[in-house]
Amino acid sequence: MIAARISTAIDNALLYEDAQQAVRARDEFLSIASHELKTPLTPLRLQIQKLRYLIRRGEPAAVSPEQILAAVEKSDRQIARVVALVEDLLDISRITAGRLTLHVEPVDVAALIRDVVERFAPSLADAGCTPDLSLPPDVTIQADRIRLDQVVVNLITNAIKYAPGAPLRIRLRRESDGGARLEVQDQGPGIAAADQERIFTRFERAVADVNKVGGLGLGLYISRQIAHAHGGDLVVQSTPGTGATFVVVLPAAPPVPQRDERAPLTPPDGQETAA
């Protein structure tokens, strides 16, 4: 009897501690999310207010069409940043609810990677990260093009954030089962063994001081969930001081989803699969 009451008390204490930890994690996330959402709003607001300031100065030619165009383009870029952040938050909601849906089609993985690298060429150049690509042309798999693009973008932007000023090696290989293996190798500070799983959990970063690195801390978590939805995986191999290699392994095609009362039904055309 006493043993049962003690056991119940211990269970309650553990549940209370778990609940407290969940509340702390939620509060920290809300603080980080509001900071990240406000960041693009500063240049957006200043560009718009700058136009207002110039117009209010009153001379008929106070604002040239070039100035207006530049301000509008800069504002548009900030709106895209906000949209990307909101998409990440929505992805978390979709993953948590088991509603991450794949739109599967044949994807030429090398072409997809080359496209991402070209899009990020200015950012890579700014960060001093020279891409070193090894992309054989014969790696085509059944995958969700937009989601796979998202994984590659996350890995490249991670390297820009954590490993600036050093070459970035990107290697693609066709696996014997027809799948794809992608390695993104940076020369950053590396990740200690104890942190190599933690960085794939929600709201976590590879550094202890959140004042030093921005971002929602969702990129690697979302990327791994996308790999899992394809029936693959995303892992990191690293020794501190020697950089980190992120390895994405994807099968030739995602598994056929199992019907489960908790998961949404697969659409009847069979072209989509839910995680």
Partner: protein, 126 residues
């Protein structure tokens, strides 16, 4: 005539840095830019004293807090006014405690930014 005092902007986000520089130049101020605290310190070492430092808090390499500690510890930088900016609303009202001239909350308002700069340097003929 001595040259106009420079506003040193220390901010890691390139879009924010560029937007702040844009509006300060538009208002007739001379601007210098640094991407984090360590770059800001290097700039201070290599140039005459700025008229004002605009300092972000959350930055890679060296945060705004760490930059403040370095500046406070070195008598050469005594008296340079510093305005902090951050998205963290909990810092509202802590300017005096942190020993800075003022605090701007992100997303920064243009009129607040120009008022903070003008209060230290005076309005420029822009």
């Amino acid at each position: 005539m001595s040259p106009a005092p420079v506003v040193l902007v220390i901010e890691d986000d390139p879009d924010i840095r560029e937007a702040i520089a844009d509006v300060l130049v538009m208002a007739g101020h001379d601007v210098a830019l640094a991407a984090h605290g360590a770059e800001g310190l290097a700039w201070l070492e290599a140039h005459p004293r700025p008229g004002l430092i605009l300092l972000d808090l959350m930055m890679p390499v060296m945060t705004g807090y760490e930059f403040l500690e370095h500046v406070r510890a070195d008598r050469r930088w005594d008296g340079i006014p510093i305005t902090l900016f951050s998205a963290d609303g909990r810092l509202d009202g802590r300017a005096i405690e942190l020993g800075v001239a003022s605090f701007l909350r992100k997303p920064i308002d243009l009129d607040d930014l120009l008022a903070a700069v003008d209060s230290q340097l005076g309005p420029q003929a822009g």
